[in-house]
Symmetry: C2
Subunit: 225 residues, 2 copies
DNA sequence: TCTAAACCAATTTTCACATTGGTTCATGAA
DNA sequence: TTCATGAACCAATGTGAAAATTGGTTTAGA
């Protein structure tokens, strides 16, 4: 029982070092591997269990056995994510994320992008309904993401927006008529765009933070706190 | 031709206002809808084309017709995203995102989470290979995301990490031996964790930014710039 | 010229089947 | 008995083809 038990483990270790696994790090199914290493499936499974305990491999029924650490599962499952979060969490994420978006937008936005954003801000002012206001507000915030010239940041922003819509969706208040003439966002949007146009990243981030804090306050009140 | 043509459009508009569409805003297939509204498929399609021109609905072969604006395609398609980005973009995203993660972690981390992170930092120091070093480095950065107590932020961080691995993957250098004893990250990790433990969000964000700037510099050199 | 039916192509859904890690159990050696 | 061994079985997953669905296009007919 002394080295009869350790021998398969070392055999397996040696195999893993020399084997040319595919890009995904997947190794052959247990039945094949057992035959290739000239051992029973039971003893192979024991050896694999040891390696799994050490975090060197991970396994899943129907998939196979893989080298390395188990990949993160929930990365892109938006539906599952919506169930685990809530409006205040989304707001906190926006407050962490969007000011930095604004900062980078100030550094990288093109002239035509700035024009587009100004057009969105203008449409927000003229929107005859809350629905249309939100449409252009969304476009404005996304345009800032585009202006960063960073596809990854834009994708992350889009993901956050998707979650935000899904979370906010159920409690979508039916507001009366239209945004008031002196709606706080109008001026705050202008401040953000001024800073972006002036290439002042710090001011853009601050203005965005101020804007989102106001939105957060409104959200708090609408949630009844 | 005068109102024979506008009548189907108004009928369709009236339907859209009263119909109880599912959460996805999908409306019945053309054939069903045509029968329900008692009109031919051709005239229904004309009306739908009008609404589509106004941006009120969008359609796709094999999928169906949906209310609202066409959703952003790339929100969660990581594979497509990997093709459109590059290591420097990922680095810029990390620099924008992770300092704010650290700031929120400082505000919300639990004691056991701080202990976990310290354990990761310690394992980084003792790692006998670069591979294991990266393993614990990844765990440390993700633990900071967990410490924000914000499921959405953590999901965004995971997405970014997935993309980062995929992008960096092809240019994975086979470094010799192991991280040097005085590897810059060791002390920088400690600084971040000190700030988090002291509940100093600003210091945590600054320390993270400093850390990532160093990583960025190394990346630049390894890319040959 | 307009309409409705037929047809087309993109997409989703369904289903059967193979694959794979996990579990149970009878067998047999120690 | 006790415990390891291997075969059979189980449930989750992947695969791939066929069928159904759906918006788009063409065509014949009134």
């Amino acid at each position: 029982m002394q080295n009869i038990d350790t021998s398969p483990l070392e055999k397996l270790r040696a195999y893993l070092e020399t084997a040319d696994l595919g890009e995904d790090g997947r190794l052959p199914p247990e039945r094949e591997l057992a035959e290739a290493l000239d051992m029973g499936r039971t003893v192979l499974r024991k050896a694999l269990a040891t390696l799994q305990g050490q975090g060197l491999v991970w396994r899943h029924v129907g998939k196979g056995t893989f080298m390395g650490e188990r990949p993160v599962a929930s990365a892109t499952d938006i539906n599952a994510l919506v169930l685990r979060t809530n409006p205040m969490e989304v707001m906190a994420a926006r407050l962490a994320f969007e000011p930095e978006i604004a900062r980078l937008a100030a550094a990288n936005a093109t002239g035509s992008q700035i024009n587009d954003m100004r057009a969105c801000a203008q449409k927000c002012r003229q929107a005859p309904t809350w629905r249309q206001y939100e449409h252009y507000d969304n476009r404005l915030h996304r345009s800032l993401g585009e202006a960063t010239q960073n596809a990854l940041l834009l994708a992350l922003l889009d993901t956050m927006t998707t979650v935000r819509r899904a979370v906010t969706w159920s409690r979508r208040r039916d507001k009366p008529d239209r945004p008031p003439r002196d709606h706080h966002s109008f001026e705050q949007h202008d401040r953000i765009l001024e800073a972006v146009a002036a290439r002042d990243g710090q001011a853009a981030a601050d203005a965005m933070r101020t804007h989102l804090r106001t939105v957060e306050q409104n959200l708090r009140e609408s949630l009844g706190n």
